[in-house]
């Protein structure tokens, strides 16, 4: 039976209560996307600013939601700040695989240390896999950042 203590770890409640990088960034230079979880009405606004060589210079989020969605957003921003867009792509694949959303060819199972290195605090969201109705809460911020970055590409193309 899945355990609540595994879902609501201290690090998750800490990010929920003291979210890192909450706020907004001017658009442009940043791009913005808004994600919805129609199930519970949660919303997340993600702002991201990317440098010429693909590094994430600045990232911030705003939104209201459950402990899982807010902690996940906070952990995500902490993880990807200073990295590259490609680096986020790898982490996102790993994050989805951790939640059982990867395809069969996805990354192989990692040890906790490996996961921690790849995902930062977001590794603590592992137990969400055991609560299927909550997986969308965990992925909301990640999908929204993905959209914000996709918006940047189409912006550059025009």
């Amino acid at each position: 039976m899945p355990q609540l203590d595994d879902l609501y770890k201290e690090v998750i409640l800490d990010h929920y209560r003291r979210p890192r990088r909450r706020g907004t960034i001017d658009v442009p230079p940043a791009t913005h996307a808004r994600g919805y979880n129609p199930l519970c009405g949660d919303e997340i606004d993600m702002y991201v600013s990317v440098g010429d060589s693909g590094e994430i210079d600045a990232i911030a989020f705003e939104g209201k939601g459950c402990a899982i969605s807010q902690a996940s957003a906070s952990m995500l921003t902490e993880r990807v700040q200073g990295g590259t867009v490609a680096d986020f792509g790898d982490a996102f694949d790993r994050f989805k695989a951790m939640l059982g959303l990867g395809d069969d060819d996805g990354p192989a199972f990692s040890t906790d240390e490996e996961l921690g290195r790849q995902l930062g605090d977001a590794e603590a969201l592992q137990a969400v896999r055991e609560f299927p109705s909550r997986i969308k809460c965990a992925t909301l911020a990640w999908n929204t950042l993905d959209q914000a970055l996709a918006g940047r590409e189409s912006f550059e193309e025009t």
Partner: protein, 419 residues
């Protein structure tokens, strides 16, 4: 009556009926199921399940066509259910009962059929601020198509409709769409008074009775609405069937909603003419088993007695409101009126900074099923400055022990969040 006697009475009543509901005897995460989500969908008694099973096993066939025995038996059962439901809501005639797939379709039928034929540029549609999306979105759609405008009738901070504002706004309006019971704040609106006010101004009233019909006597004559809709699955019936009741002259004058088989009188190469009401609004093969099931469900409710259902409702609301306030004091914010007499069937709340979605997950581990989210009423949540709420909803099969289990599980949530 002393509190203790009242508690004994609520529980004895609930216990005497629980045996009829097979699902209430299961466990969730090794704990007895505590089902406090009847406002989302009630559970159904064995008799309803059996009636649908018997139809499929022994006399399933299509209705109103073919002259064989099975067809005749199925037609008699389908039409018989219409008569039972008409009696249940005190409809002057069975033909005023139109079957739909749910209350959402019933409200869409009115908006699209009556609304598109009768609304135009400059016409005003009034919606109460406590409507469910099902009684909002169809009106926005029709407003867009016809050029009519939507206006919102305000509510007070404790979730009560502002009747003075309503009286002012009704002047010169075309239609009022109003719920009889809010699915979020639980307010029991004075719906007969509201319909009388609308009638006085020549405004057509459309009542969403989805949360009302399962909990008290629904008397369409006494309510005095022009249209009233409810859904089967919240009233002990199956999913997939809803009911629209309408005033005969309005139903007769309206164009059809969906076109197809069964709703026509005649079709040729140039066009069609429609069948009389209710067939005009029942295009295609209808949910026959579900209609039969709903007929049995309203019989069951009538046997239990809707006055007794209402008494249980008020009593368990009184118990739950007191238990939640006693246990959590300033940590809990209950939405809607605090007087159980002004409420029906449910309690929505916020608890500390624990998000409703987290509350729901934690409660589920204790076997307690509640609803978390915006309950398809985002404008109403915006009115109260929250994005979501947790909702415990009751039916006559709920006991005070189940309310105690809710309080216990909420305690665990607070502890987990360090509150």
């Amino acid at each position: 009556m002393s509190d203790l006697a009242s508690i004994r009475e609520i529980d004895a009543f609930a216990e005497s009926l629980r045996k009829d509901f097979p699902i209430l005897h299961r466990t969730v995460h090794d704990r007895p199921l505590v089902y406090l989500d009847s406002a989302a969908s009630s559970q159904r008694p064995e008799a309803v399940i059996e009636a649908m099973d018997t139809y499929y096993r022994t006399y399933h066939s299509n209705i109103h066509r073919g002259a064989h025995t099975l067809g005749e038996e199925a037609t008699a059962a389908y039409d018989g259910a219409r008569t039972k439901i008409a009696r249940f809501v005190n409809s002057p005639t069975p033909e005023q009962i139109v079957f739909t797939k749910n209350v959402t379709e019933a409200l869409n039928l009115v908006a699209h059929s009556w609304g598109r034929a009768n609304l135009g540029e400059g016409d005003r549609i009034l919606l109460s601020t406590m409507e469910h999306h099902a009684n909002i979105v169809p009106w926005f759609m029709v407003a867009e198509m016809t050029g009519a405008t939507v206006e919102w009738v305000p509510i007070s901070d404790d979730g009560v409709l502002d009747l003075d504002a309503l009286a002012r706004m009704l002047r010169g309006a075309s239609v009022l769409a109003c719920t009889a019971v809010s699915n979020v704040v639980g307010t029991l609106n004075p719906i007969a008074d509201i319909c009388a006010m609308a009638r006085g101004e020549g405004v057509v009233s459309v009542v969403d009775a989805a949360q009302y019909t399962p909990h008290q006597v629904t008397d369409v004559v006494a309510i005095g609405a022009d249209f009233l809709g409810f859904t089967g699955h919240k009233a002990l019936g199956p999913t997939g069937v809803g009911v629209l009741w309408g005033r005969s002259d309005l139903l007769d004058s309206m164009p059809p909603f969906l076109g197809g088989g069964e709703m026509i009188e005649h079709v040729d190469y140039d066009g069609f003419s429609t069948a009389p009401v209710p067939a005009k609004f029942e295009a295609g093969t209808m949910p026959i088993a579900e209609v039969i099931g709903l007929g049995v469900a309203v019989d069951y409710l009538a046997d239990v007695g809707m006055d007794r259902v209402r008494d249980h409702d008020v009593a368990i609301l009184r118990y739950a409101l007191a238990a939640l306030t006693d246990a959590f004091g300033a940590k809990i914010r209950i939405l809607g009126p605090l007087d159980p007499e002004q409420r029906s069937g449910l309690v929505s709340f916020e608890l500390g900074d624990v998000h409703p979605h987290d509350i729901s997950t934690i409660l589920d581990q204790e076997g307690v099923a509640i609803r978390a989210g915006h309950h398809c009423a985002k404008p109403l949540h915006a009115r109260f400055g929250v994005t979501a709420s947790a909702r415990a909803s009751f039916q006559f099969y709920n006991t005070t022990a189940e309310v105690d289990q809710l309080v216990h599980a909420l305690d665990i949530a607070l502890e987990l969040f360090g509150l």
